[in-house]
Amino acid sequence: MNNHYLTFFIGKNQFCIPAEKVVEINRNADFTRVPGAPEAIKGILNLRGQLIVAFDMSSLLGVVSEQDLSEAVSIIVQVDSSQISLLVDKVGDILALRASAFETPPSNFPVHIRHAVVGAHKLADSLLIVIDPNLFIKHLTGNASIPASVDVLPLHH
């Protein structure tokens, strides 16, 4: 059985995400910074009236980007009921990969990127790292430290 993956690049590093989660790919996303947000969140952008949170994949994956963020490509991904944007350097091909070639990370895999990487596909000459957006979204919403609120009521609801 084959699964389809969209590959993308940050610097020289290649990664991929499951293709069925990709909604669309945009160039020059004009995002607004959100001061105080987690480091990986670069800001929010407007996609046809919908607010979309943009993630800086280089900061999330701990790799160095070779270009300015303003030249980044935005991959819009469906996560549960909402959409998010992944800012990457370059988008590659869509690959059909055999499910049997998939491997989960080894047990000594560093903890700090376990929340993003689900495993890798064995290509002929390299390992293609597979990213699961659901995983790091869960990580960000679940473990996010909520500052102690001082009896302030939410504005809505």
């Binding site: 004009d30 607004t32 959100v34 046809r48 009521l153 809505h156």
Partner: protein, 746 residues
């Protein structure tokens, strides 16, 4: 299986609706025990609930609703009499059903539980004087037919619901009328929000398109754009309406609440609901539910007296609470009035002195309005003991907070032994609100306008000490009150504000939980209506933002949460920790003072106008003014404003016009839905003066009277007269010099 989930959630939704209506119906039944139609309604509702429970094999639901239905069937057929005990049992039944439905919603399966006792009680009540041993209930053929005809997704015949909803709204038995009502379509709130998003996006796209049409010479193109413009406008209006729901959505639960609470307090209370068809945005309805419940609790527990006491006072034994909703000035007003004991102002006064909030002298001189303000202070209560109904530490301050958070206001009007009226003013919608756009480090942020008290611009040239140093904390002296000052750049961790080389400081004075503070920003832009969008779960834990909005350019702008910023900076927490006396200013206003804007006209150095008459102050260049007939108008931010050059109408001023292109301050005001732009020479200050005005020795054109401020006599502009004079020119025989054909044709 997804499909099944959908059907189940549909079932839960409709079951909840039925249970809500049942609550209300039982209360009505208690008042009109003989209402056969009502009993029929309840019977059918329980029956349909039983039917669909059977479909899902929810055994508990089925058994309980069957037992309740059996009892009701007997009552309907007149075999047994309805009494309070039966009503209580039936209400218990509804409660148990509700618990089960909630359990199903949480776990997709029926929660475990033992209902044998309740079922037996119901059966005993049903057997009581029962003449026919046959417990089998005949199913009404009509209902069966409706049930079969109704397509699968709807488990309950919607007519039952509509019928009963109509009964509730009209507050009168409804019979044939129900067939006039077209069945409403249920739409997911999410779907609505998405449509709403698209619509606002459409509005933005239209805004970008309009300049092209204005510049274009192609008439066809302009016409097409014009029709798109109109369609978009209508689309937007309709969308706003779609989110509206009648306030009965919240109120329908109150009959039950009032009944239970009054029983608990051993009081008799009758609740009347007027204007329950008044519509409000769904999100607002959810937001006012808790405040309203709190106010009702207060009324029943504290205001309404026990029957014996009422009799002694010569009042009817049954206390009255009236809920009334209506539209006024683009707001929805909700009044909760009771005929109970009212607020004991003496007790409030003594309490304030006890708690050292006020000195005895100050308290003595405080008016009723001033004392009312005290009720809204955190932790302020006149109660000696805490009852189970109220006094659980949530006070009127929370009610007030909740109401101001949604942009509303609250007033209390009470008379000892006559009653209390609490008036809530709520904006029609939350989704759109006016906000001030400000700049901070290259980004634009929005501050909700209802939190802004005033804008202050400080120039270094004039005086050296703009901000003072309160042992390390910057403060500003705002008309003799020290207000703490925050730098927005620092609060948002955008880096230290480079203050020293700036020529001036822009400060927004805002208010949070009764605390005033100044927020220093890099730039102040304009006020506009913004569509509020939630930030979503990923950014929800950032207390400094209330949401975001999309600007005309298509860029996202964050909306600042003033409360969040105050709390994060420690301002609110710190100040509330040590109770300080309530801010002086509001109380001084209560002592018959009023805010006026002090400004200058050519030839008149000081003239004042009531601040409440002014909507905005803008800086406009006279090149923006356009000739329209013999009048000048200005089109600013999608609004047409009529330019009124004040010096032409006020005696004592130079009538000469300013040079073209000069930028002058413009005060906008809204009179009879027309917006006027009053051109002045310079704006000076906001002053507090006694409301009582001195009459002029001889009447002067455009002047109402004068006030004394700091030993200086200041004339007060008569706005009505000026506008009347301005409009009087309309009826003169002078024809417009140029007829704007384009304007007429379009």
């Amino acid at each position: 299986m997804e499909n099944n989930d959908e059907i189940l959630s549909e079932f839960i939704l409709e079951a909840r609706e039925i249970l809500d209506l049942l609550d209300a119906d039982f209360i009505r039944l208690e008042q009109f025990p003989g209402d056969k139609k009502l009993i029929g309604n309840i019977f059918r509702a329980l029956h349909t609930l039983k039917g669909s429970s059977g479909f899902f094999a929810f055994k508990r639901l089925e058994k309980i609703s069957h037992a309740g239905e059996s009892l009701l069937g007997k009552i309907r057929d007149g075999q047994i009499e309805l009494d309070p005990e039966k009503i209580d049992r039936l209400l218990d039944t509804v409660d148990v059903l509700r618990v089960i439905i909630e359990g199903i919603e949480a776990n997709q399966s029926e929660p475990a539980g033992e209902d044998q006792l309740l079922i037996e009680q119901l059966q005993v009540l049903a057997k009581n004087l029962a003449t026919t041993p046959n417990l089998e209930i005949k199913i009404e053929p009509v209902i069966e037919v409706i049930f079969e005809v109704a397509p699968a997704p709807s488990f309950f015949d919607s007519e039952v619901i509509i019928d009963r909803a109509a009964t509730l709204v009209a507050d009168a038995p409804v019979s044939e009328k129900l067939y006039d009502v077209t069945a409403p379509v249920k739409v997911n709130l999410d779907t609505l929000d998405r449509l709403m998003n698209l619509t606002s996006e459409m509005v933005l796209a239209r805004n970008r398109l309009l300049p092209f049409a204005n510049d274009s010479k192609d008439l066809n193109f302009s016409k097409t754009v014009r029709s798109i413009d109109l369609l978009t406008l209508e689309l937007q209006e309709r969308m706003m309406k779609m989110r509206m729901q009648p306030i009965s959505y919240v109120w329908s639960k109150f009959s039950r609440l009032v009944r239970d609470l009054s029983h608990e307090c051993n009081k008799q209370v009758h609740l009347t609901q007027l204007g329950s068809e008044t519509e409000l945005d769904r999100a607002l309805l959810d937001a006012i539910r808790d405040p309203l419940i709190h106010i009702l609790r207060n009324s029943i527990d504290h205001s309404i007296e026990i029957p014996a006491e009422r009799k002694l006072k010569g009042k009817p034994e049954v206390g009255n609470i009236q809920l009334m909703a209506f539209h006024q000035n683009g707001m929805v007003v909700i009044e909760i009035s009771d005929d109970g004991a009212g607020v004991d102002y003496e007790r409030v006064r003594n309490r304030a002195i006890d708690r050292k909030l006020l000195s005895p002298q100050d308290a003595e001189s405080l008016s009723k309005e001033g004392l009312t303000e005290l009720i809204f202070l955190p932790g302020f209560s006149t109660k000696e003991h805490i009852s189970s109904v109220s006094g659980r530490g949530v006070g009127m301050d929370v009610v007030k907070n909740n109401i101001t958070n949604i942009g509303g206001s609250i007033e209390v009007d009470s008379e000892s032994n006559v009653g209390t009226t609490i008036r809530l003013k709520i904006p029609l919608t939350l989704a759109i609100m006016p906000a001030l756009l400000i700049g901070s480090k290259d980004e634009t942020y929005a501050i909700p306008q209802n939190r802004i008290l005033e804008l202050v611009r400080l120039s270094y040239g004039k005086n050296e000490n703009l901000l003072e140093d309160f042992y390390g904390t910057p403060v500003y002296r705002l008309r003799e009150n020290l207000v703490p000052v925050l730098y927005l750049n620092e609060e948002l961790k955008l880096g230290k504000a480079g203050m020293t080389h700036e020529a001036s400081i822009n400060m927004v004075v805002v208010q949070s939980s009764g605390v005033q503070f100044g927020l220093i920003v890099d730039g102040i832009f304009n006020i506009q209506d913004v569509v509020v969008k939630p930030l979503g779960p990923l950014l929800n834990n950032l207390p400094k933002y209330a949401g975001a909005t999309i600007l005309g350019s298509g860029r996202v702008s964050l909306i600042l949460d003033v409360d969040g910023i105050a709390a994060e900076s420690g301002l609110v927490g710190r100040i509330q920790a040590k109770p300080i006396p309530p801010p002086e200013a509001p109380i001084r206003i209560a002592e018959e003072e009023v805010s006026m804007l002090l400004f200058e006209l050519p030839g008149i150095s000081r003239i004042a106008l009531l601040l409440q008459d002014i909507e905005h102050i803008l800086m406009l260049s006279s090149t923006h003014f356009q000739e329209n007939g013999n009048k000048e108008v200005v089109f600013y931010q999608d609004q047409l404003m009529h330019v009124v050059r004040l010096q032409e109408y006020v005696s004592g001023s130079d009538t000469g016009r300013q040079a073209d292109g000069a930028v002058s301050p413009v005060l906008t005001c809204n009179i009879n839905h027309k917006i006027y732009a009053l051109v002045v020479k310079q704006v000076h200050d906001i002053i507090q003066v006694p409301i009582k005005m001195h009459e002029l020795s001889s009447p002067q054109r455009g002047i109402k009277g004068c006030v004394i401020y700091k030993d200086e006599v200041i004339n007060v502009l008569d706005l009505e007269e000026v506008i009347a004079m301005h409009n009087a020119h309309d009826s003169t025989t002078i024809y417009p010099r140029v007829i704007d054909i384009q304007g007429v044709v379009e």
